[in-house]
Amino acid sequence: MLEGKQNGQVFKLPKVILLATNITNVELEKAKAAGFADTVIMKPMRASMAAACLQQVLGIGKKRQAGKNMLNGSMALQGLLCGKKILVVDDNMVHQRVVAGALKKFEVAVECRESGKAALKLLQRPYCFDAYFMDIQMPEMNGFEATHPIRMMESKANKQMNGGMDEDSGRKGEWHVPILAMTADVIHATYDALNAGWMDVSKPFEEAKLYQVVAEFFKSTRSNCFT
């Protein structure tokens, strides 16, 4: 699990991006406590948004003009995303297929799982993902419950790497899993997340703002943990 050290360099755990249908500004601002999810995106996920989020989440590329069709975008973007490993967790098979389709467009290696449980099983093995797209309203284990262990793993790993010292924002030993959490009901999801102190969201519709928030979190180290 979480292998991939390279010459003692910091390596990054996957990121989680929240996907949601609607969210108010109030919720957004309130929910910016760091933790669970790094950004919110509406369901159903727009293919163009997937690319935008991934681009920012993985700390690559520049801000694109709002409204531009991401998919007609450059070979450069494709090249940068190429080879990244993404885990999509969604119990809705149709939506899962759409998300996978959008990501594969950029030659991202996509793994899909239907439940949080199944997803966590994957993490027991030496997989390493660059990002997770996680549905947070699944019946057995919702997205928050699934990502909590990921965050725990992070702190543990951070502590280990820092010899016992836990640095939140320090670059060294900072693992921050980009989690894209998908939900059709963000208002309730947000409240849950706020209560759990896990959520960190951004407004999906405004691409510019999305970049801003996402970039804040992801300007850290590039992932060294992939093939």
Binding site: K43, P44, R46, A47, S48, N69, L71, D91, N92, M93, V94, H95, R97, V98, G101, A102, K104, K105, Q137, P139, A184
Partner: protein
């Protein structure tokens, strides 16, 4: 065989699906994902949708026969159905799903049942139109069908 009339027909059929509110822009998102590497992406996703939604409709039908109604279960099923429908851009079907869930929220059995009948009608209509659309698209040929610029 003269393809132009068929192409025009396809374009017109497609346009009417949007104009009449059967599909929304999410469907276009699917079209944009279709390319040489994935020449049948849209139809594949829609076919997946048919399977998924048929199953859910069956489950909903059964659930609606129970007395008393289990609104929580109904809502759960419809949440799934709505999710699938919105993933392919099935606009009218999605709207009925939303309405259904509202009735569930207020425990309105009659509203649920009425809405579900309407939903099934919309679903059947959409499905028929999409089947026609894809059939025509297949006749025309792989590259020219769904991959249309905005």
């Amino acid at each position: 065989m003269e393809r132009n009339p068929m192409r025009r027909q396809l374009a017109s059929l497609r346009k009417s699906l949007f104009d009449q509110g059967y599909l929304d822009e999410q469907f276009m998102e699917l079209e944009q994902l279709q390319d040489d590497a994935n020449p049948n992406f849209v139809e594949e996703v829609v076919t997946l949708y048919y399977r998924d939604s048929a199953r859910l409709i069956l489950n909903l039908d059964h659930a609606l026969e129970r007395r008393p109604l289990d609104f929580s279960k109904l809502d759960g099923l419809m949440h799934q159905f709505k999710g699938s429908s919105s993933s392919i851009g099935a606009k009218k079907v999605k709207a009925e799903s939303t309405l259904f869930r509202e009735y569930c929220k207020y425990g309105n059995a009659e509203g649920c049942m009425r809405t579900f009948q309407q939903l099934k009608k919309e679903y059947a209509t959409l499905r028929k139109k999409l089947e026609t659309y894809f059939q025509l698209a297949r006749q025309i040929g792989p590259m020219e069908s769904a991959n249309r610029p905005k």
